[in-house]
């Protein structure tokens, strides 16, 4: 396996070939770094390329295999890390001004787990400044370009991670998600991305945006690869009974209903709010995806999610208050070091009161219970991930900030309710617009029910070919 085949090989395939000595981890790292070098000028996915760390890790994996020691489940798999997550010996930039950078002395817990599993940490990916926005237009490091149309945004804030996976620059990547920052770029770049249940993946060594809403999770080209990465990041891989990949691969009954694939799964369609104000192409594509799930044996029914429209209000208040609290000291002394849109988002937080914040936290508890009610009639909820496909990059200084602020409201509408509730939510490709832009489908489950969310996603993926399409990069 080499060239384009290797660039778009799955993590599972790469790890299997490296373990069987059909391929060395060094060969994988070399191929990956060469492709990054070729495409970085066009896509700007990376802030830092970790060649030395990648080769050192590859040698360690190859040595282990040569000497007959156990190689991890991600042996030789190139993984990119969002540059808001610590990797030992590397500066964590948050894609922000240099005064906000920090030198990481140790790996973030999730990065350490990936390394221990044999992953090759190939680079630190570009993001919306401080992970506080969805366009990935960055005043310090430049915009990330969508591989499907470089004139368009990749979505954010984990835009570099999603674009790198879509472009075949790595087999998987890590993102963070406070209002949709894994799922939005996954949707706009045509890859799979899962925001797991709140707290499932440790956030030690991840620079916070808003503690109450922050999550970390994987992006990959297939649902199975996302499960493989999540197993490692969540620490479940060493506990076979909790392994998500084991759940996906098992032939027997996986749920209490004894179903496999999507058969027998009750798919809830929350028409009100989550299927409103859609771009017509997105609506058509997502509706077809639901019909595919029905054809796979899922029971599809409309469900109510009471008070869904209030979730975004609670997220806005909690996010603004917590982000401003985290940045307060620097914001007071060096406000001009933030990009215009992020500065505005942070400064507005000063004007919320303590009672506003507590009201939002009380609303969080209330809405968590209300959202759970929808799961009395459904096992998963399904909806489009975003209302529209990727929009053009607006980096005109006179309008970029206003566009960024508006896009945040627009693109997080269907994603941020699940940061508030902490429910697991997967985005996976479900079609393309006439302009060739990917559209994402979001599958949401009960807390800690990642296995079912991933299982339904894998069933859909197995019945379709969207995940096999490649962006036109020549």
């Amino acid at each position: 396996m080499k060239g384009t085949d290797l660039a778009f090989a799955s993590a599972a395939e790469i790890a299997a070939q490296v373990r069987q000595r059909e391929l060395t981890a060094r060969q994988v790292a070399e191929a990956c770094l060469a492709r990054i070098e070729a495409l970085q000028p066009r896509l700007n996915c990376f802030i830092q390329i970790l060649s030395d760390i990648a080769f050192e890790q590859a040698s360690s994996v190859d040595d282990a295999i040569r000497s007959g020691r156990t190689a991890g489940p991600l042996a030789g798999v190139p993984v990119a890390i969002k540059d808001i997550i610590d990797v030992a010996g590397v500066t964590t930039t948050s894609a922000s001004h240099r005064w906000l950078h920090r030198q990481a002395e140790t790996d973030a817990a999730l990065a350490e787990r990936l390394r221990r599993a044999g992953a090759i940490l190939i680079g630190k990916t570009n993001l919306h400044e401080c992970a506080f926005g969805v366009t990935n237009i960055n005043p310090h490091y430049g915009p990330v370009h969508n591989p499907w149309d470089p004139r368009r945004i990749p979505g954010g804030s984990s835009g570099g991670s999603a674009a790198a996976v879509a472009a075949g620059l790595c087999a998987g990547a890590v993102g963070t998600d406070t209002g949709g920052s894994i799922r939005i770029p996954a949707s706009l770049c045509g890859v799979a991305g899962i925001k797991p249940t709140y707290g499932l993946v440790p956030l030690d060594g991840v620079i916070p945006l808003a503690w109450t809403l922050d999550h970390a999770g994987p992006l990959a080209r297939t649902v199975r690869d996302a499960a493989l990465l999540l197993d490692v990041m969540a620490g479940t891989v060493e506990d076979d009974a909790r392994s998500l990949v084991r759940a996906l691969d098992a032939a027997g009954p996986l749920s209490s209903r004894g179903a496999s694939g999507a058969r027998g799964v009750r798919v809830g369609i929350p028409r009100k709010f989550f299927w409103e104000h859609l771009d017509i192409e997105v609506e058509t594509i997502a509706t077809t995806a639901v019909e595919t799930l029905r054809s796979l044996g899922a029971g599809v029914r409309d469900v109510e999610v009471p008070y869904a429209s209030f979730a975004g209000s609670a997220v806005s208040v909690i996010l603004s208050t917590e982000a401003t609290a985290f940045h307060e000291q620097h914001l007071r002394t060096h406000p001009a070091e933030y990009g215009e849109d992020v500065r505005t988002r942070l400064e507005r937080g000063f004007f919320l009161s303590g009672t506003d914040y507590i009201t939002a936290l009380r609303a969080q508890g209330f809405l968590h219970r209300e959202f759970l009610r929808a799961f009395e009639e459904a096992d998963v909820l399904v909806m489009p991930t975003t209302q529209a496909a990727a929009s053009p990059i607006d980096d005109d200084p006179s309008s970029a900030s206003t566009t960024s602020l508006a896009m945040s409201v627009h693109l997080t509408r269907f994603t941020n309710p699940f940061n508030l509730t902490g429910f697991p939510a997967l985005s996976l490709p479900c079609g393309f617009t006439k302009e060739g832009l990917p559209v994402g489908l979001q599958i949401v489950g009960r807390p800690r029910d990642e296995a079912l969310v991933l299982r339904v996603g894998k069933a859909y993926e197995s019945a379709t070919e969207w995940h096999t399409r490649r962006p036109p990069l020549h």
Partner: protein, 59 residues
């Protein structure tokens, strides 16, 4: 409740010791208004008055 004005924000900024000039206040006013409306809207939810907030973990 009425939306905050530039004057309101200027007073709060001064009280909090924030170095926001009038141009900056004018620039952020629409976002402050949006947040203010969001915070007010949450008060319409039928939440049990005795319900405690969860500060560091999800329910």
């Amino acid at each position: 409740m009425r939306l905050p004005t530039e004057e309101d924000l200027a007073k709060v900024a001064a009280a909090l010791g924030l170095s926001l000039d009038r141009a900056r206040i004018r620039a952020i006013l629409p976002e402050v208004e949006r947040l203010f409306e969001a915070a007010q809207r949450l008060r319409e939810l039928p939440i049990d008055p005795a319900q405690a907030p969860r500060v560091t973990e999800h329910p």
